[in-house]
């Protein structure tokens, strides 16, 4: 029987948005394999899950990473979609890691913890995302959809910092949420 190699531990991070979801797939903690925004304009949840499913089928992640919104009490379409993801992933036998917003802020404290600063720090680590870096927005401007990609990457980066031993040969802690 082949042993699972921790270097190939692939995480799929999903950040639902009103227009679909941003996602990122990182392998071994440091290799950004795929990223993007899936637009799901329909309010049909099945369509949303079908788009998630296509990513899971194609990239066969070892686990899924989501922002912890369990304390969020505001009812919204985004929250409803977030609630769909956990049982769906469980039905696919995929472990789900929840990353809290406070952990993300803590991890990016040195670079600045606004979303724009976090996105810049991420683009520095993953230069392939530089072209997607949204312009700094004014208070009256809505957030660019590309920000969901940076958010999705930030979940995995935060999780990686939570499990520093994941670098190199031991990713075991990533397997146990």
């Amino acid at each position: 029987m082949r042993k699972p190699s921790p270097n190939h531990y692939r995480l799929l991070s999903i950040d639902p948005s009103p227009a679909g979801f941003g996602f990122a797939i990182i392998e071994g903690g440091y290799r950004l394999v795929e990223w993007g925004v899936a637009r799901v304009w329909s309010t049909n949840d099945q369509e949303f899950l079908a788009r998630v499913e296509s990513r899971i089928d194609r990239f066969r992640p070892s686990a899924v990473v989501l922002l912890d919104r369990s304390a969020d009490r505001r009812e919204s379409g985004v929250l409803n979609r977030w609630r769909l993801l956990q049982p769906y992933c469980t039905s696919r036998y995929l472990p789900v890691f929840l990353v809290s917003g406070s952990l993300i802020k803590e991890v990016f404290r040195s670079t600045g913890s606004t979303k724009s600063q976090i996105a810049s720090a991420i683009a520095e680590e993953f230069p392939e995302l530089e072209g997607r870096l949204p312009a700094t927005r004014k208070a009256w401007m809505s957030e660019g959809e590309q920000m969901n990609v940076f958010d999705a990457v930030s979940f995995i980066v935060a999780l990686r910092h939570k499990s520093p031993q994941s670098k190199g040969s031991n990713n075991a802690s990533l397997g146990r949420p």
Binding site: H8, Y9, R10, V33, F59, R60, S62, P95, E128
Partner: protein, 122 residues
Amino acid sequence: MSHDLLKTYLRMYRRRSGLTQADVAYLLGRVSGTTPSRHEMATRIPTLEILLAYQVMLGVSIGEIYEGELARIDREVRARARGLRRYLEHRPATADLRRRIVYVQGLEDSAGLPAHPPKSHA
């Protein structure tokens, strides 16, 4: 749940380079981006000429682009090497046979090709 490598990382390397599928198609001498798209989805295996063109345009080796396939083939070759060594060990021993066994043993034990493969017979 899987810990295996993906069959191909072509899409990742292409996106890292900033090239579009249409750019890649043009560089391959193709009309549309469907050819690179099929290669990225691993629904088609490129010809040797195209593989070498990917290596040139993306600046990464074919083995890195097809890391998952390389890992699978590596496992298969080493498994066959084990069988070949067992077969050779039951043959009458000669100097040449011993060298072959040592080489095959190297294939079995190494994480890839032996570091110093013996020179071929002149």
